[in-house]
Symmetry: C2
Subunit: 190 residues, 2 copies
């Protein structure tokens, strides 16, 4: 149930509504965890019922009212418990790799466009991460000296950057392989 913990961390960094959390999960938190708004609202409701969060109705001008959540004592305790408990090193779930291996039973050439599309998506993400890094950590606007929270956010972001760079390089390798196979043996190869 790591979504709960990701929400606790995000709300400790800054209280917010379900809608705001959903947007954070599209950017900074989204570097390492994703969630849809339906999931977030459901979990927020449960955590509030369990006493891990407190909610405050906030009236707004020019917008619908919102419910701002923040972390209660038991929520902080639950997060601390989880932080002190070992977790299993996660395993990959990589659809594209399944496709690549499946291409042996279809037309490898047909996969080239798909791989190029993914490569572009990763290039876009990398650019986005680098822009965020410059804005928040390495640029002239960045706070100096950073506190522990910022150091930790930065090292997580560096992980995202390393991941995207590695993935782009690997997709280049995949494209080379597909071109080689296509040149050598056009059409289905089984």
């Amino acid at each position: 149930m790591a979504l709960e913990h990701a929400i606790l961390v995000s709300l400790l960094e800054k209280p917010g509504s379900g809608y705001e959390l959903a947007r954070r999960f599209e950017r900074s938190i989204g570097y390492f965890w994703t969630a849809s708004h339906q999931q977030i609202y459901r979990v927020l409701g449960r955590m509030e019922a369990d006493g891990r969060l407190v909610v405050r109705e906030v009236e707004q001008q020019g917008r619908p009212d919102k419910k701002e959540y923040s972390v209660a004592g038991p929520g902080r305790g639950a997060l601390a418990d989880w932080l002190h408990k070992p977790i299993e090193p996660e395993s990959l779930r990589h659809d594209l790799a399944v496709k690549i291996r499946g291409a042996a039973f279809d037309d490898p050439a047909a996969l080239i466009r798909e791989v190029e599309r993914h490569r572009q998506a990763h290039r876009d993400r990398l650019a986005h991460y680098l822009a965020g890094e410059a804005r928040d950590f390495t640029g002239p606007e960045a706070p100096a000296p950073p506190d522990a929270g910022q150091e930790l956010q930065h090292v997580v972001l560096r992980g995202g950057i390393a991941y995207e760079r590695m993935t782009i390089a690997w997709l280049d390798d995949v494209l080379d392989t597909l071109h080689r196979l296509t040149g050598r043996a056009p059409g289905p190869a089984v």
Copy 2:
């Protein structure tokens, strides 16, 4: 439902029982997709009911009988459909990153052991992958020249190797950061 497709690919590479598939998902297929035996048996049953797989009872000596599954025409068609349909670039789900960011609200030093443990697990996986690569692709026993299927399996494995190397380097970065924070500001830092 990529598990279905991963099973189809694996059974096209070589027919097998649920038990055998579960073991493959602990090794070669497991480089990029994981599944427990319960999940596999359930999906195998459904796919057989849907006519995507055919099953054959095989009597064995010195072992319980097994059910050997292989891919039927409709299964191959379903795989081809999926291969030709674009998929979304996957997003990460990285528990450890949640913990690292959460450490700002706890004791960063307490995380060092956990990160070291993960680092060791990734080193072990890397060694395992490299051994597999030498055995199947780059060593003297490897088939030469490889066919398309082997080329594609190899490039996927190279992706796993690149991922592990990247992750180990990143975890070193994380450890440096945690040591720096611990030396500078022992105890909780919020």
